[in-house]
Symmetry: C2
Subunit: 259 residues, 2 copies
DNA sequence: TAGTGGTCTAGACCACGAA
DNA sequence: TCGTGGTCTAGACCACTAC
């Protein structure tokens, strides 16, 4: 990554807008332009960098979408105050994760039931009307060692084709990821002390700490699935890396009425 | 927020490129254009939407930056294949979080030391050259109850002004957020069983499960800080909501009633 | 080598909102 | 009001790479 501490040195970036962006960014990150500082207006930047307005506009728009600057009509463009920290967490597909670790993957289904949703099921899926659901409980194995314990509920109204799926080739999470488009997801991460059954299944000490990842996904307004995945604490961490200045995965333009 | 299942309905978005983006997005998210599907080339989209190439290019570039599509020269633009799940996690500013819960915030500094970095410090900050660091250990309180225990290391080479900061008004995390711009952050989430000292400080049962959030930030290539925050498992969950279809990661109150 | 995306220009009109 | 950003056009040349 570029040193980004010498604002006067034009980075030999491959394109004009990238080099302009690098120069403005380095001024901001170095503190030369502190939060609240007004950035030259587009016409001045045009003259400074001898380019068209579209080019500087592209740069400033991108810096704004990354939260480095804030743009206000008539007022100008300002260095944004350091914002809340976001982390773009990649939620693991457990099978892919295990294979990626070079281990052999295996799935053991402990329980499977198709039923009309109970009140608890409906609460978990945030639905009000009863309907068919598929409830499962299974263990992911990595090289024959228990890796994670998962409880999953699938809304068969939204995903009827799950009813007859054996999940022998793909575990439910992977199967859903590959076959059902989703439009919204909610994740919640916590920690628990393993109860005796969980401890026994995962092969951890009684009362051992575990990481719990709860996930719910929707397709439009229709719930798709709710799942709780329990990882032994020793063997797993969720990792996120976020670089507003150069990451590939970008976040949506920040809401202006941010607190 | 729209259902996003009817791709033929132009969204009444405020600008042309936004409405085009919404239409392409809905085709992708609805599954009408599955992963691997080739999107019409820019000239065809120009004709379809009766606009200039700059406009469709802007749309496709943005979709690519968000990971929804992949662009390859000479080959075309394709719907991105791996629908990896991402979660946009809002990393909490502990003080703001506590105040947001309606509780009174207090900070108790347990230890503070300015020193030349030890080998362990350098490893934690991922630096090779020795230099001055500030190491701290403190407790966040919510209404006089322990809320989180934090161990933090600040690189005084990058942030020399931290040396004389008392952190009486703002805890180190909030202070850094407000005063030091950052360009990259890495977060890692795990679970631990509280050791006796931690359990005593946090007021949890011996061996009780805790959620651990480790955070490292950089400004350019220079490390800023590394921090480990330990939350009692019972009272805290990290929540993320992600909608690739243009949704925003909204702040969600920590659901305490979650089972 | 030809098709596709990547970039850039020199204008233009419009919308917003601070002065 | 009117300065500033927001958007859009109709071209142009270049870079890359799959065919």
């Amino acid at each position: 990554m570029a040193d980004a501490t010498n604002p006067s040195t034009p980075e030999p970036a491959v394109s004009l807008h990238q080099s302009i962006k690098a120069m403005l960014q380095s001024r901001i990150l170095s503190g030369e332009w502190p939060p609240g500082h007004r950035i030259p207006i587009e016409h001045e930047l045009m003259k400074t960098y001898a380019c068209s307005r579209m080019t500087v506009s592209k740069v400033l728009t991108e810096l704004a979408s990354r939260g480095l600057v804030e743009r206000r009509r008539r007022a100008g463009t300002f260095v944004a105050k350091p914002r809340l920290q976001f982390a773009l967490l990649q939620i693991p597909d457990v099978k892919a994760e295990i294979i990626g670790l070079g281990a052999a993957y295996a799935l053991k289904i402990l329980a499977r039931a198709t039923r009309r949703s109970t009140a608890a099921d409906r609460h978990r899926l945030s639905i009000s009307q009863p309907g068919p659901v598929l409830a499962m409980r299974y263990l992911h194995f990595a090289d024959a060692r228990p890796f994670a314990l998962e409880d999953r509920l699938i809304d068969l109204t939204t995903v009827p084709q799950a009813r007859d799926e054996s999940f022998a080739v793909e575990p439910p999470g992977s199967w859903l990821l590959a076959h059902v488009p989703w439009s919204a997801a909610e994740h919640s991460i916590g920690a628990i002390n393993a109860d005796p059954e969980t401890a026994s299944l995962l092969g951890v000490a009684p009362n051992g700490a575990c990481l719990v990842l709860s996930r719910r996904t929707w397709r439009g307004a229709a719930p798709v699935t709710a799942a709780d995945t329990v990882f032994p604490a020793g063997g797993y961490r969720l990792v996120a890396r976020f670089e507003p200045g150069g990451g590939r995965a970008d976040r949506e333009a920040a809401p202006k009425n941010q607190a």
